[in-house]
């Protein structure tokens, strides 16, 4: 095979105006080009292989959940502890003063100052933790609802 022919045949799959000039003068390459085009036709007629039907759904189900902007899950406990400590501090500051509300709440049980402090800290921590859990539930419920909507739309 002549170099010129080989060079042209290497470019049979290109759309190149230069190809025309050689093809006009070389019968071998014209024949070769015809069978080449026929092979391309055969290849183009091959049935396409589409992605499996359940690929989209599988991807959506496996995507990482969007992170809530307000309070990340793993920081809820930390927030509860901080709030509990805050309550403790308040209780310590109020220890000396005679607050009727404090007294009346715990008047049934005789409490020393230290146990009062601990009791208030426990109450504070519990309230903060409960509030945190409430937020967590709310976030996960809206999250899974959004997921369902997306999956339904995907169908």
């Amino acid at each position: 095979m002549k170099d010129a022919c080989r060079e042209i045949r290497l470019r049979f799959d290109e759309t190149d105006p230069l190809r025309g000039a050689h093809l006009e003068s070389c019968e071998d390459c014209v024949r070769e080009y015809e069978t080449w085009k026929q092979l391309n036709r055969l290849l183009d007629e091959m049935p396409p292989v589409p992605a499996p039907d359940d690929l989209l759904e599988a991807v959506l189900a496996a995507l990482p959940r969007p992170r809530p902007k307000a309070l990340p899950f793993d920081r809820l406990e930390a927030a509860s502890v901080v709030l509990g400590l805050g309550f403790t501090l308040v209780a310590i500051l109020l220890r000396g003063t005679e607050l009727p509300s404090l007294e009346s709440l715990f008047s049934q049980v005789p409490l020393s100052s230290l146990s009062q402090v601990l009791a208030w800290a426990a109450v504070g921590g519990a309230i903060a933790y409960a509030l945190g859990n409430e937020t967590r539930t709310l976030i996960s419920v809206t999250g899974s609802y959004e997921g369902q909507v997306l999956r339904r739309k995907a169908k």
């Binding site: 091959m46 049935p47 292989v49 499996p52």
Partner: protein
């Protein structure tokens, strides 16, 4: 007209990417719908096994979602996604090889044709013959032919994907198709 349509689809793709980047999962679902056939197709051409290809395609989309922030739009989105798919395919091939599976070629240098999804849809003898002839080609030729003809990738895209010079891609396409044609002629397909 064609150019307008291409511009419109490219434009809406950029919008979808931007929305996905800010966490809009519906926009990302739309992106998946637009690209799932080509992502799955490329994985299939690399791995030659529909199950593995689906697995890799799924992994690829999750990685794409996680890394969307890094997509700057300097390259085409499809090129960027293909690189992710290719890297996952190479990793999968290494793992399969380590586990004792053959990737692409076995001792006879041919692929188990029954595992190719084409086998399910091909009724015509011609197409079955082409599939068989393709399966007998050395891996490097079959991959380039498949990417060029079945995935409609351009020389430049294949070169970027396989990290080869464009000249090598053209050579492999030419050599591979010449071998394919001889093989088809022996089967009486022309």
């Amino acid at each position: 007209m064609m150019r307008n349509m291409a511009f419109a689809s490219q434009h809406s793709e950029i919008a979808l990417i931007r929305r996905s980047q800010s966490g809009d999962r519906q926009a990302f679902a739309e992106l998946i719908r637009c690209h799932q056939n080509e992502v799955y197709g490329v994985a299939l051409r690399f791995l030659g096994n529909p199950e593995e290809a689906k697995d890799v395609a799924q992994e690829a989309f999750i990685r794409i979602y996680r890394n969307l922030g890094q997509f700057r739009g300097t390259s085409k989105f499809s090129t960027w996604t293909f690189i992710i798919v290719r890297n996952l395919c190479y990793a999968r091939m290494r793992r399969l090889e380590k586990d004792g599976f053959c990737s692409g070629e076995n001792e006879e240098g041919r692929e188990d044709l029954e595992t190719l999804p084409e086998a399910l849809v091909i009724q015509r003898d011609t197409q079955r013959g082409i599939q068989e002839a393709l399966g007998e080609l050395p891996e490097k030729y079959r991959l380039v032919i498949s990417l060029f003809h079945f995935q409609a990738l351009k020389y430049e895209e294949i070169a970027a994907l396989l990290e080869l010079p464009i000249g090598t891609v053209k050579n492999r396409l030419f050599r591979g198709k010449t071998m394919l044609r001889e093989s088809l002629e022996k089967r009486g397909i022309r």
